[in-house]
């Protein structure tokens, strides 16, 4: 009896394990993106769009087929329930009542459109292809599930056809340009009211779409010379700020009545990375040390150079410049003097940034100087604390070029007694390691008349020279403690 039981058990277990197995994993279907059904094309897009201006919407009766490459899809949300195709003759927007069409018809896909039964017409001057007319006479998009009856997918990817045109051509918005992908090269920027400030589109609650104007260097601020870059509030990039540079602008050219508009696909269509019209290439900042190293014995023309540092000279005593045109600027352990072409009002401690375009790096009386810069080129950006190095006079004399136009502090220094104006303002200073001249300018009359403090003192001063004679210049009497 037991044998029968076991035999049965075994038979059953075999049966169970071998019996119908249910499929668990599925292999993916073949990738059809390389397929091109090669439908016979008997109409060009320009022939199709020619029918769009015959008055109202026309139903296409013949078995006509066009072919094009998708040049704009709805991936970014800026195009809504449509995609745009283009062939060598022109472009047309296909209206389909579905979201996220890019999953089936991405930019670069070749498609054929079987036109029979569809309607062609224009919406305020822009040709559109749709499915039917509703009871108000407006065009109804092709229902999503019916798109396959009209739009035949072909291979992907294909090179995306783009035409390079000028702003003038874009503004002319010739019919052959409508619904095509165009690029206006290298001359476009957003107008100064918007550049770097506005977002591509306002929130949908305020407006469904927003216009931002792009100009070129000849637009002269006139909107008639600008193109409307129109962005939907539903675009994924709506909240991004428009760039402030200048460069090339790409998009689909459309029109609304007589207003040309450019609809970008996404923010990569706006390549505004260069300097704006009228600006030389953006000045790049260098250190004063690097600036000093640019001098090799003869004058150097400065262009596109910007320096920044802390002002260490103080002209309240008029010791540095009788007309307040000269300042000394220190950046780290190096400094330079700047001779502006007009008076400036910086005080010691101002942290400033100076664009040296148009200036000259020269040696004036043995001191490296930048001249020919208008005061407007210097901008105060804050308050700074220059690095005051404590050194002895011997060190200054030995390595003068390391200290020129910078602030130093010398302790236990003794100045020859008398007034600062003695000997034409040249007073000897010694600290045991060496001697150096303390110079007071003739314009600093109050300082010259002052008596030299006696005994060893701590002196804070700017290092410079007159010819080969090294010297120190103080800003005010408080520099001697």
């Amino acid at each position: 009896m037991k044998k029968i039981q076991f035999a049965l058990a075994l038979a059953l277990l075999c049966a169970i394990s071998l019996s119908s197995c249910i499929k668990k994993n599925f292999d993916g279907p073949p990738d059809t993106s390389g397929n091109d059904p090669h439908l016979p094309v008997n109409m060009t897009i320009s022939q199709l769009t020619a029918m769009a201006f015959s008055g109202g919407y026309i139903k296409i009766q013949n078995d006509s087929t066009i072919m094009g490459i998708v040049v704009a899809d709805d991936r970014s949300g800026n195009f809504y329930k449509q995609f745009v195709i283009q062939d060598s003759t022109g472009g047309i927007a296909i209206l389909i009542n579905s979201y996220n069409l890019y999953g089936d018809y991405p930019v670069g896909r070749k498609v054929y459109i079987k036109l029979k039964g569809l309607y062609i017409g224009n919406y305020h001057g822009l040709p559109q292809l749709g499915y039917a007319l509703d009871n108000t006479g407006s065009l109804v998009n092709i229902p999503g599930n019916l798109a396959g009856n009209y739009v035949v997918k072909a291979n992907f990817p294909n090179p995306v056809p783009v035409r390079h045109i000028t702003l003038a051509q874009a503004l002319a918005a010739d019919r052959s340009m409508l619904n095509t992908l165009i690029t206006i090269d290298s001359v476009m920027e957003f107008n100064s009211a918007d550049a770097g400030l506005t977002k591509y589109a306002q929130p949908v609650s305020i407006a469904s779409a927003t216009d931002v104007y792009a100009e070129d260097c000849n637009s002269n601020g006139s909107q008639a010379n600008m193109i409307d870059v129109r962005t939907s509030g539903y675009a994924l990039f709506a909240n991004y700020t428009v760039p402030s540079g200048r460069g090339s602008l790409t998009g689909i050219l459309t029109v609304y009545n007589s207003t040309p508009q450019l609809i970008i696909r996404d923010t990569t269509d706006v390549q505004f990375t260069g300097p704006r019209c009228g600006n030389s290439p953006t000045a790049s900042g260098i250190s004063i040390d690097s600036l000093r190293k640019m001098y090799h014995g003869s004058d150097v023309s400065l262009n596109g150079v910007k320096i920044s540092g802390t002002v260490i000279s103080d002209n309240s005593s008029l010791n540095f410049s009788s007309n307040s045109k000269t300042i000394y600027l220190q950046d780290g352990d190096r400094g330079v003097s700047i001779f502006f072409s007009s008076a400036q009002s910086f005080v010691a401690g101002d942290s400033i940034s100076v664009t040296l375009s148009g200036g000259t790096l020269t040696s004036y009386n043995g001191v490296l100087e930048v001249k020919g810069i208008s005061a407007a080129k210097a901008v105060k950006v804050g308050d700074g604390h220059p690095n005051v190095r404590q050194v002895n006079i011997g060190e200054i004399n030995a390595h003068y070029s390391n200290y020129e136009s910078t602030l130093v502090k010398i302790v236990n220094a003794t100045i020859d007694p008398g007034t600062f104006g003695d000997n034409n303002g040249n007073k000897n200073v010694t600290d045991g390691s060496g001697n150096i001249t303390l110079f007071t300018a003739s314009a600093a009359t109050a300082l010259r008349a002052a008596a030299v403090p006696s005994g060893p003192r701590t002196i804070t001063a700017v290092v410079n020279a007159f010819g080969t004679t090294y010297q120190l210049q103080i800003r005010t009497l408080t520099d001697i403690q």
Binding site: L13, S19, N100, D104, F156, N239
Partner: protein, 906 residues
């Protein structure tokens, strides 16, 4: 009464004293009781399913006569409908998609009784297949225990019969209580209790092989069971394995692939019994999705299933359930005397329940029955266009490319979409280029770990009073998350929330997991949400039953604490400070008080009344405003209060069993949460509608007559007529998933008062004719009529906001607000069986070898118009107030379906 072979209690045996026309039935312990017996000598007849009829003589001459132990021997030849293959078991699996439809499990009640209560029998067999819920209660009102362990889901109270699917052979022994009757094992729910004894010691000694053929969820079933029965050595073992499968079930696109395992061992040692039982049923099956009447009409079939589509020429179902949650139970029984029984059980259950569906990110909706792909979109919506509607209709009917899921298009869209993702994993400059899947197949996973402990003591104080008491403790952790199951041809998917509102933009707000921003999801990765719900439950119960001559009564009660909290494992970008880590703990002190009296008019006629008051904890899912992504609990989570009473008249006599019962139950302070995608411009995201202060009432009557025309022919008539409906206008609060506000939202009223619950047919009638032949075959015919089944309402529709511009009483008003009643159903079921003693073929096969054959045909007349349930879609057309725009969805019941079973028993 005990079983001769095993000395274990013989339950459900009918004893009759023909002279006095008295009858009674043994209980789970094999005990029975005759009351009001005059002094004298009588014949006592013993009958029952599967036992040899027996007659003995008894004498009654004292106040209480103890008849001692009576042994019954099993009649192998007897084949009872209760033990044969019942069609209802196969219906319990959840065929509907739970997640986004907001539909709860609609499985059938598990009242598979072996009792003689005609009402209970009818409810289990005949009516169970039609989504009938006794008294209108939900599925969580019946407490089920297996080997002393409560198996109801700790969070919802529902029971998943999947856990022991295919193990019918070893889950045969069960004791039921119905309604508010007292149980010996537990307090029970409003719908009573079921106690399964699936220990090895309780299995009959047998080797059994069964094969079944059907055309329902599955088409084939093979079962093998070997049990030793309790051997002289005190040991017992039992093993059962089965496989259920179908390449395609009744509904197109549904497949079934299920295995079941069961192993148990028992040792009886003196007065103790030790059991170890382990079982599990790993099952994979393709489900059917409910659909609108429009799509059923377009498809030309009531069994249109939008969940599947062709892939490489084979049907692939997008909604697959993959389930495996095995259970291990250690149980111990100690019976120091006949008066005392002490049971203790410990169990551990673990495993995953996964439900798949297609997910997509910024892509066209892949569902073939998406409302914009249907003609009604151009007939009822803003843009009406007859030509477009006609075109879509023709397209849908043109073939499975449009009427079913188009897997080819999903894969090819993924192949095309080469994209560069910047700053992957939050690392600046880490740019990855590859195919970003627009569509994936995604699993909703619940990963459960559950520890249970239960101990029960029963002590018979004296001949009148029995005391019960017990302690239960359960701790369950469930990790819920979404997982990418198949990238459908792509290289990765994005873990981003595409529904963050336009105002918030797509910055960190759209990250589902801030700690791994811009993570590329590969196959098997978790995404969207990930959290653990920690639940602990402890309770103490006590009961005492009193049996006297004229009165029986009982008192019972329990007190317990349910406690749970959410632990977020993803830091969600919308709620960075309230999604990760532990939420506050929610604690609910619960109690039940229950009691009942039975008055024995005489030995045959009984009057009884039972009552109960209790509280229920709210479900975890309904206690948080959006449990997937945030830790915030709802405002004022509170227990639900329940009061219930039932009473009636029972007649038990050898020829006629009758039952007339009335019941009334009221509940207050219930809470529910509905989650769905709201497309109105105010939201454009998933929203959670928390509905609180829900009050319901269930009131009705149950009538049953079971009349034995002759020894072989019986008639059964059963009627269940009730009303289950809302008795309050609950308040609802809306929390949008992309709204970062933490204040409690505004409450608005939901006008649900007097609307019916969607609890299946509230009027059910069945008339049955049963024939039992002495030649070991039987046949049943049942005529069923079910009516008054209502559609589940969408609470957000019954608001002032929607009613605002609609004129009360107008046709539009009725269209929007009337609750649809599903059509009434009439069916005929046939059930027959035969047993053949194999020793007729060959003596070698022994006296206990049998061949059992049974066949059940449900819905003989092939009525394919049975709407088994329906629900209003949560999404609503606020623009035009047209309820048909997002029409009601339904599932149709099977047409003629059968189940044929052949078993060989040795």
């Amino acid at each position: 009464m005990i079983k001769q072979s095993s000395k274990l209690p013989a339950s459900d045996i009918q004893l009759t004293i023909p002279k006095l026309k008295l009858a009674t039935t043994t209980d789970a312990e094999g005990k029975f009781n005759f009351s009001a017996v005059p002094y004298g000598s009588y014949q006592l007849v013993v009958t029952g399913y599967n036992i040899k009829n027996d007659t003995s003589n008894i004498t009654v001459n004292g106040g209480v006569t103890d008849l001692g132990q009576i042994a019954v021997t099993l009649n192998e030849a007897g084949i009872a409908p209760a033990n044969a293959e019942i069609p209802t078991i196969s219906m319990e699996e959840n065929n509907t998609s739970v997640e986004d439809e907001g539909v709860r499990s609609q499985s059938v009640s598990g009242l598979l009784a072996s009792g003689r209560d005609p009402f209970v029998n009818a409810v289990s067999f005949a009516l169970g297949t039609y989504h009938f819920h006794p008294r209108g209660y939900e599925d969580n009102e019946q407490e089920i225990q297996v080997n002393g362990i409560p198996v109801n889901d700790i969070e919802t109270g529902d029971v998943s019969w999947n856990q022991w699917g295919g193990l019918n052979d070893v889950f045969r022994s069960r004791v039921n209580t119905y309604g508010l009757q007292a149980s010996e094992y537990t307090l029970g729910g409003l719908m009573g209790s079921v106690y399964f004894d699936a220990t090895a010691a309780n299995q009959r000694k047998q080797t059994r092989v069964s094969y079944s053929l059907a055309n329902r969820n599955y088409r084939n079933r093979l079962m093998f069971t070997q049990s030793s029965g309790l051997m002289k050595s005190g040991w017992a073992y039992s093993v059962s394995v089965s496989k259920r499968w179908a390449k395609e079930g009744y509904i197109p696109g549904t497949f079934y692939d299920g295995y079941s395992y069961y192993g148990a061992v028992s040792k009886v040692y003196k007065k103790q019994e030790f059991n170890f039982t382990a079982f599990g049923a790993p099952t994979r099956r393709g489900k059917a999705s409910p659909a609108t009447q429009e799509t059923f009409d377009l498809a030309g079939s009531h069994y249109y299933n939008p969940a599947w589509g062709y892939q490489n020429g084979e049907k692939r179902n997008s909604r697959v359930n993959d389930y495996f949650q095995p259970v291990f139970i250690l149980s111990h029984e100690y019976k120091p005397s006949e008066k005392t029984r002490w049971n203790t059980s410990v169990a551990y259950q673990f495993g995953k329940n996964k439900n798949s569906s297609i997910d997509w990110y910024q892509a066209t909706d892949p569902r073939p029955d998406y409302y914009q792909k249907l003609p009604s979109y151009y007939e009822l919506g803003n843009i009406t266009n007859a030509q477009a509607a006609a075109g879509l209709k023709a397209q849908f009917q043109s073939g499975p490319e449009y009427s079913q899921v188009n897997w080819d298009r999903l894969y090819n869209s993924n192949y095309l979409n080469v994209q560069t993702i910047t700053n992957v994993n939050g690392v600046a400059g880490n740019d990855v280029t590859g195919k970003r899947s627009l569509y994936i197949l995604s699993d909703y996973v619940d990963d459960v770990k559950k520890w249970s402990f239960n101990t029960n003591l029963e002590h018979t104080l004296n001949q009148h009073i029995t005391l019960y008491g017990g302690i239960t403790f359960i701790a369950q952790n469930t990790e819920s998350y979404r997982q990418a199951a198949d990238l459908l041809g792509g290289d990765f998917y994005l873990n981003l929330n595409q529904f963050t509102s336009k105002g918030l933009g797509l910055g960190t707000y759209s990250q589902n997991n801030l700690d791994h921003p811009n993570q590329l999801i590969k196959k098997g990765d978790k995404y969207n949400y990930d959290y653990v719900s920690h639940y602990t439950k402890g309770l103490f119960w006590a009961q005492s039953t009193f049996a006297y001559n004229k009165f029986d009564f009982f008192l019972a009660g329990n007190i317990g604490l349910n406690s749970f909290y959410r632990e977020g494992l993803f830091r969600n970008g919308l709620f960075p400070n309230s999604s990760f880590g532990n939420s506050d703990k929610l604690n609910f002190l619960l109690y039940t008080a229950k009691g009942g009296v039975t008055y024995k008019i005489d030995g045959r006629n009984y009057l009884f009344v039972n009552g109960q008051v209790n509280t229920n904890a709210p479900e975890v899912d309904n206690s948080f405003v959006s449990i997937n992504i945030r830790n915030q609990a709802i405002d004022n989570p509170t227990t639900e209060k329940v009061q219930s009473i039932e009473g009636g008249y029972l007649m038990k006599s050898p020829r006629l069993n009758a039952r007339v019962v009335g019941y009334a139950t009221a509940t207050q302070d219930g809470v529910d949460r509905k989650r769905y995608y709201n497309s109105s411009s105010a939201f454009e995201t998933f929203i959670n509608v928390i509905v609180q202060n829900i009050s319901k009432q269930y009131i009705g009557t149950e009538l049953a007559l079971d009349y034995k025309l002759s020894s072989s022919i019986g008639l059964t008539a059963v009627a269940s007529i009730g009303q289950a409906y809302y008795t309050s206008n609950p308040s609802a609060t809306v929390y949008a998933d992309n709204d970062t506000a933490t204040n409690f939202g505004d409450k608005h009223t939901v006008y649900l008062k007097n609307a019916y619950l969607a609890s299946g047919p509230q009027s059910a009638y069945t008339l049955g004719v049963n024939y039992r032949s002495k030649n070991y075959w039987f046949a049943n015919v049942n005529f069923n009529y079910l009516d008054r089944s209502y559609v589940e309402l969408a609470p957000d529709r019954f608001t002032d906001e929607v009613a605002d511009l609609i004129k009360p009483g107008s046709p539009l008003w009725h269209q929007v607000f009337d609750q649809e009643k599903l059509p009434s159903v009439f069916t005929i079921d046939l059930f027959a069986g035969y047993s053949y003693k194999l020793s007729h073929l060959s003596k070698k096969l022994g006296n206990s070898s049998f061949l059992y054959f049974s066949v059940g045909i449900n819905n003989l007349l092939n009525n394919t118009n049975i709407k088994s349930f329906g629900f209003e879609q949560l999404r609503y057309d606020y623009t035009n107030n047209n309820p048909n725009f997002f029409g009601n969805k339904y599932m149709y019941g099977y047409g003629r379906n059968y189940f044929v079973n052949v078993s060989l028993k040795f």
